[in-house]
Symmetry: C2
């Protein structure tokens, strides 16, 4: 059985790590502030897939004490990614993979250097929050789409690595789909994340209102079109039908506060660079300007900085 390390035992790492552990995989959890709670009281996951309370975990506060593993899962907030250069290399043996479960663009590029391109990316369509230290609440959805990174940015196709990881996740009861083109998958996820994460913070609104009010619906669609333009600059085609489906799905969803809005309300750093800055810079390098996303980017960076000035942490 493949062994796993979970970097970041939060809403995503806690949920998927718990599922892998419960299915019998050796899983090693890295915690920072939550270490004492998880060590003494275990990890509690209230989930639509059934509740778990796991007390027999391998938990670490010190990454130096973690063993090398077959798969390192990166589930930190992207705002913590400056830590990865220290965290990941000691966990790698000769054929280890890194699986990045984060939103946004440009995440895998740096990591790929350390593992000789053995990097997968997974996009989580999951509504899950960390309620308290060692306590994750998984409210809805949960599927992962998985793709393989290539330094040349070309589609990998369906590879044996993808199939192996997908088999482990399926065995653990996690819905997973393998995709031949990670970069396309990342741009498609941005079709939702850019308008809804961004506008939820700037306009202080839930997803249902943003998707139905005529002004924000028009604006969300305009922003989606710019994501489509950015993807096209990277030779990835996203159809108009896909945009319309994403908008309609959001109308049908329960009203959510997005993860960025939850971070904002808690005074935490926003994932502005991964979700907005990197796509803008990627397009810019290819000579494509995305003016409306740029407005949102400046607004979010401003609000993020003001928010943390006013916040205790």
């Amino acid at each position: 059985m493949r062994s796993y390390a979970i970097l970041g035992t939060g809403a995503i790492g806690g949920l998927y790590g718990a599922k892998l552990h419960a299915a019998g995989f050796p899983v090693h959890f890295l915690c920072y502030r939550d270490y004492e709670v998880v060590k003494t009281q275990g990890l509690r996951v209230d989930s639509i897939w059934g509740n778990l309370h796991l007390t027999d975990l391998h938990v670490y506060a010190d990454p130096q004490k973690m063993p090398t593993v077959d798969v390192v899962i990166v589930a930190l907030k992207t705002t913590q990614n400056h830590l990865l250069a220290q965290l990941i290399p000691p966990l790698l043996s000769e054929n280890s993979l890194v699986l990045v479960l984060q939103n946004g663009l440009g995440i895998e590029d740096e990591i790929a250097d350390w593992v000789d391109e053995r990097v997968l990316g997974g996009l989580c369509f999951t509504c899950s929050n960390k309620r308290a230290p060692g306590y994750v609440h998984h409210l809805d959805f949960g599927k992962i789409t998985l793709g393989e990174y290539r330094i040349d940015q070309q589609p990998s196709g369906i590879t044996p690595k993808l199939e192996a990881i997908a088999a482990d996740f399926s065995q653990a009861g996690i819905p997973i789909e393998v995709l031949p083109d990670l970069l396309l998958a990342r741009w498609k996820k941005l079709v939702w994340n850019i308008p809804f994460n961004g506008l939820s913070v700037v306009l202080n609104a839930t997803t249902d209102i943003l998707a139905t009010h005529p002004e924000t619906r028009a604006l969300a669609l305009a922003l989606m079109r710019e994501v489509q333009t950015g993807a096209a600059a990277c030779d990835r085609q996203i159809s108009d039908e896909f945009l319309a489906e994403m908008l309609e799905a959001t109308v049908q969803m329960k009203p959510y506060l997005t993860s960025m809005k939850l971070d904002f309300e808690a005074g935490r750093s926003l994932e502005v660079e991964a979700i907005f800055g990197n796509p803008l810079r990627t397009a810019q390098k290819l000579g494509v300007h995305l003016p409306q996303i740029t407005v949102l980017y400046h607004q979010l960076r401003f609000l993020d900085q003001q928010n943390r000035l006013n916040s205790p942490q």
Copy 2:
């Protein structure tokens, strides 16, 4: 001496009407909600030009009872401009002028039909608030720039009408400058109003912060450039130096809440159409898309509507 009607005895109409009255011009003030207070207690203006308390005014609650005048001054919020078709025509005699003291674009076009093109526009560089019914506080600045409207949108040059009105205002102690091109003056005022009115509401910030924080400064400049593009579509050239000067002047100004932000906090309608919608539509008709101003337009219309849903009035 020319007689004046003031439509809207608020921050602008109250200030300039009081100055004209104090200089001896016959001035007729239209009030709605404030009628009883102004009738019984007079109009109080605390001003950097000296305080006034005027109790001997011609005040009207019913526009039907007002006499015809030589000059009708429009000083309502533009959100009330649907009332003008009823208010203005009864006040006109054969050679009456209309002077519009409002921000934004496209204000004079409808009015011009009723007075056979005898319409002037004045832009007020004034920091003035209505503190309470019949009580205006004029904190800073106060100059008016005055131009003449032409249906063909061409520059009028300096006309006798402009010089006559400017002479009255000067006599009343109001700093005034006549300009040969009203449309250029309106676009130049938008260079400031679009970024600072818009961002102050969306980002809940004062002008000094918006002009100095790197994110909002970059965004303000990008929005100014789109105003410049819109003006160019109307054959009006605004220099890069002018944009830089406006930004620098805003850094140097005392920290202000913009008029749009004050309206927002009071739950009043925002002047979104005059300041954002009309410039966007004007440019659009000429084949020019202004994407970043469009973002702000949708955001403001959304916030305006949500704000009034939640507001008692």
